[in-house]
Amino acid sequence: MAKSEKQAYDEFIKGIWRENPVFVQVLGMCPMLAVTNSAINGVAMGLATCFVLVGSSFLVSLLKNLIPKQVRISCFIIIIATFVTVVDYSLLALVPAIHKELGAFIPLIVAKCLILGRQEAFASRNTIRMALIDALGMAAGFLIALVSLGAIREILGEGKLFGVPLFGDNFEPWVIMILPPGGFITLGFMLLFFNWFEEKKKRLDERAAAIEGSDI
C-alpha cells in the first residue's frame, strides 16, 4: 500500500508544482486574470473552480463505464455546466457582494480547457480515488496560483491583503495592478520568475551531474 500512498501523494503534488495548471501548463487563464485583482477574489474564484473540478472529476470517474465514447465530451460538458450553475447560484445566494465582482466570469469556468482536459485525460480513465486526488491536486495548484496572483495585485494595487491595510494611510496605490494591464504584466512576471527558477535549478542539476561524472 505504501507504493500507492506514494503514488497518490505524487499525483497530488504534481498539480501544485510540476504540472501547475497556471504556471506550467498556462491553462484556463482567461477568467482568472479578469477577477484576480484582489486576494479574496482569487480565493473565491479558485474555490469555485476547485468545486467544479473536483465535483465533475468525481462524477465522471463514477460514470466512466456508462458513458459511450462518442458522446463523452458532451456528457462531460453537461456535467461541468451543472456544477458551474450550482456554484453560480450558491455564490449569488450566499455571498452576493463577491458574486457582483466575479459574477459574469463564473459561467466561463465551463469553457476552461483545464477542467474538460482533466476529465478527458484523467478522470475518465482512473479510479474514483485517483481521479479525486488528481482533481484536488490540480485544484490546489490553481487555487494557489489565483491567490498569489490576487495577493500580489492587491498588495501593490491597494496596499492591502485580504482587505487589511499593510502600509498605512500614506501608501500610494499602484492603480495599474488592479487594471487589466496589471493582470497581464503580473502573470507575465510570475511566469518569468518560474522560468528563471527552473533554469537555475536545471543549471545546478547539470553542474551536479558534471561533478558526479568527473568523479568516475
Partner: protein, 192 residues
C-alpha cells in the same frame, strides 16, 4: 444606453474582449504568429459571435424567461450545435469559405470569448440589435488584438528575446503593454 455606435466603439477599443476582459486569451497567446491565420481566425470568431448573439437573444426572449436556471447549459448546447450546423452548411454551400474559415470553427466553439459574449450581452440586458452590434464589436476587437499581436510576435521571432522570457511570459508582458496602449481609448466619446 442604446447608442449602437458607442456599443461598438466601446467593445472594439475601450473594453476590448482580449485586452480588457481577458477573454479568448488562449488563441490570442497561443495560436499563431502568422498574420493570415490570425486574421482568418478573427473573422471566423466574429462570425460565430454574431450567430451566438442571435441565439442568445432568441433563448433569452423565448426560453430563459421561463427557466432562467438553464441559461448556461442552453447557451453551451445551442452554441455548439449552431456552430456545427454552420460548419456543415458552409462546407456544402461555399467550399472556398470553408477552406478559409472552416478549420477554425470547431476550435472557436470552446473559446471562452464566445460564451462570454452570450453571458455579457445577457447581463447587460441588450436587445437584438444591441446584441448584434456588441458581438460585431467584440469580434472586431478580438480580430484587431490578435492581428496586432501576430504582427508583434512575427517581428520578435527574429530578435534575440532572452530565452528565459521567450514564450508565454513574453507574450503576456507584450499583451500588458498593448493593453496599456489601449487604455488610451478609455473615455472615448463619453466625455464631451
Amino acid at each position: 444606453m442604446g447608442d449602437l455606435g458607442w456599443i461598438f466603439i466601446s467593445t472594439l477599443l475601450i473594453n476590448n474582449f482580449v485586452l480588457a476582459y481577458f477573454l479568448g486569451l488562449c488563441p490570442f497567446l497561443g495560436v499563431s504568429s502568422k498574420l493570415d491565420t490570425s486574421f482568418r481566425l478573427g473573422l471566423a470568431t466574429t462570425f460565430v459571435m454574431v450567430v451566438t448573439a442571435l441565439c442568445a437573444w432568441i433563448l433569452n426572449t423565448y426560453v430563459l424567461i421561463y427557466a432562467p436556471y438553464l441559461r448556461l447549459i442552453s447557451f453551451i448546447v445551442v452554441i455548439a450545435c449552431v456552430v456545427q450546423l454552420i460548419e456543415m452548411a458552409i462546407k456544402k454551400l461555399s467550399p472556398a469559405l470553408f477552406r478559409a474559415l472552416g478549420i477554425f470553427l470547431p476550435l472557436i466553439t470552446t473559446n471562452c470569448a464566445i460564451l462570454g459574449l452570450a453571458i455579457f450581452a445577457t447581463n447587460r440586458g441588450y436587445g437584438l440589435w444591441q446584441g448584434l452590434v456588441y458581438a460585431l464589436g467584440a469580434g472586431a476587437g478580438f480580430t484587431l488584438a490578435i492581428v496586432l499581436m501576430a504582427g508583434l510576435r512575427d517581428e520578435t521571432e527574429m530578435s534575440d528575446v532572452p530565452t528565459m522570457v521567450k514564450g508565454i511570459a513574453f507574450n503576456l508582458i507584450v499583451s500588458g503593454i498593448l493593453s496599456m496602449a489601449f487604455m488610451g481609448f478609455a473615455g472615448l466619446f463619453s466625455a464631451s
